[in-house]
Amino acid sequence: MVDNKAMIHVEGLCKSFGDNHVLNGVDIDIHKGEVLVIIGPSGCGKSTFLRCLNLLETPSAGRIFLDGVDITAPSVNINKQRQKMMMVFQHFNLFPHKTILENLTIAPIKLKKLPKAEADEKAMSILRRVGLEDKAYAYPSQLSGGQKQRVAICRALAMDPEMILFDEPTSALDPEMVGEVLEVMKELANSGITMVCVTHEMGFAREVASKIIFFDQGVIAECGTPDEVFSNPKNPRLRDFLSKIL
């Protein structure tokens, strides 16, 4: 019954806040190694969908399977499941009272019981990858927005996740810092990790996405490869949306 090949299988996902119905039945499969980019007008439910995937929001209805396990079931240890899919937030949400290195190592040390020396070493190699190893002992308040978001991505990577969810990772950044974050994300996409990314960066979407879904009024209005979506949009609302932002 459950598609075993899909890493994430979502069926009939609904979410409402009181009378406000944000998601109205979303069905989708996300496969390993896929880079799924979610686009859509604001308020269409794309962020809520992303937050439902790791249960930061509890779905009102529907089921989400991660590697065949229904994570919406009450018996599931959601904390264990969440360790497989890290999240990168719009506002970074680094821990301001911890150094950059501690931000990266606290989860592996406390949750994966990695020895401190090993966690430190691994964190440093991840920081080196994004060119921030000299900031290891700085505090988040000493970093620029772009650096903070790169650290946030590193924090996610330090947990060796199967997938990373990006919730508008560049929306809170100064325009000049968007590039450095997208660069890191492109490199990640090429490394083969599964990514689900809510973004308004259409250039990034076109270049990196393996699949693009367009959200409108709480449902998936269109879904396809970047070429299909950008060059030959079928849905009139998607056409309207693209004409406004491209």
Partner: protein
């Protein structure tokens, strides 16, 4: 440079105490000196000092009183902080995790009622009720009763201080912790409370100061704490001025030391690199 700054700080404390003593001394002796103008001012002062503090080892009323005050305050603070944090964390959890659940609703209701009762009645009445109504056995130590009473009283105020600190932390911090795979409790412990604690430290220091001074009502159940010690000297010597001033100065010094400690802690916790 650093040494000079240090000296400046000490100078501030010494000056504060000196000013207080001088003000009280001038006012007091101007009033009392008029009555016995035949003896010298300093001879009179010395005689009064000896009469109030040296004779019959009367200073011991103050030191033993101070000891009791410190014991009550110290253990009451511990109870207040532990209980206060627990109440605040439980209440925040009730608010954040599951609002509709019957269990969390009931728990939140009970905690709210506790806070209302404790904060809505005078500490003295609470002390008397605990002493005369709850612990009626003569075998129960009065100090123990006072510690429990002031601890419970303080816990209600600390609970709300801590809760305000928890609420002051950005929701994103919670989401970051949870999304990494930490449980609610782990997120609280590693990320929320350390940041909240830093924010509420001034308010906590305030509460400790109030608590120390409030223990002066412990004399009502017959504990020889600092205030009562001073009052006892007064009842023996029929002189109000020196014993009460001495008591006031001792409270002042304790509070200043405490303020200093809280200040130092605040500076140590400034880890955001600024």
């Amino acid at each position: 440079m650093r040494k000079r700054l240090l000296n400046k700080k000490y100078a501030y404390y010494i000056a504060a105490i000196a000013v207080l003593l001088i003000v009280f001394a001038v006012v007091g002796f101007a009033a009392e000196g008029a009555a016995s103008a035949d003896t010298g001012f300093f001879a009179e002062f010395k005689a009064k000092l000896i009469n109030n503090f040296v004779k019959e080892d009367r200073w011991k009323y103050l030191t033993s009183g101070l000891l009791n005050t410190l014991i009550i305050s110290f253990f009451a603070v511990i109870i207040g902080v532990v209980l206060g944090f627990i109440i605040a964390i439980l209440r925040s959890a009730c608010d954040m995790l599951d609002k509709k659940n019957i269990f969390t609703k009931t728990l939140n209701g009970i905690l709210k009622a506790y806070l209302t009762v404790i904060r809505g009645t005078p500490a003295l009445i609470q002390l008397l009720i605990i002493y005369y109504v709850i612990f009626t056995s003569p075998n129960v130590s009065k100090l123990f009763v006072a510690v429990i009473s002031f601890g419970l009283n303080s816990s209600a105020y600390i609970a709300e201080i801590v809760r305000s600190g928890i609420m002051s932390i950005d929701k994103g911090q919670f989401e970051a912790g949870r999304s990494l795979g930490f449980t609610y409790a782990q997120t609280m412990w590693h990320f929320i409370l350390p940041q909240a604690f830093k924010n509420i430290l001034p308010a906590l220091g305030n509460e400790f100061i109030v608590l120390i001074k409030e223990t002066s009502i412990a004399g009502y159940i017959g504990i020889n704490e600092l205030t009562r010690g001073g009052d006892f000297i007064r009842s023996r010597t029929y002189e109000a001025f020196l014993p009460l001033i001495a008591v006031a100065v001792i409270y002042l010094v304790i509070v200043m030391i405490l303020t200093k400690l809280v200040d130092m802690m605040e500076r140590r916790l400034k880890t955001d690199g600024r």
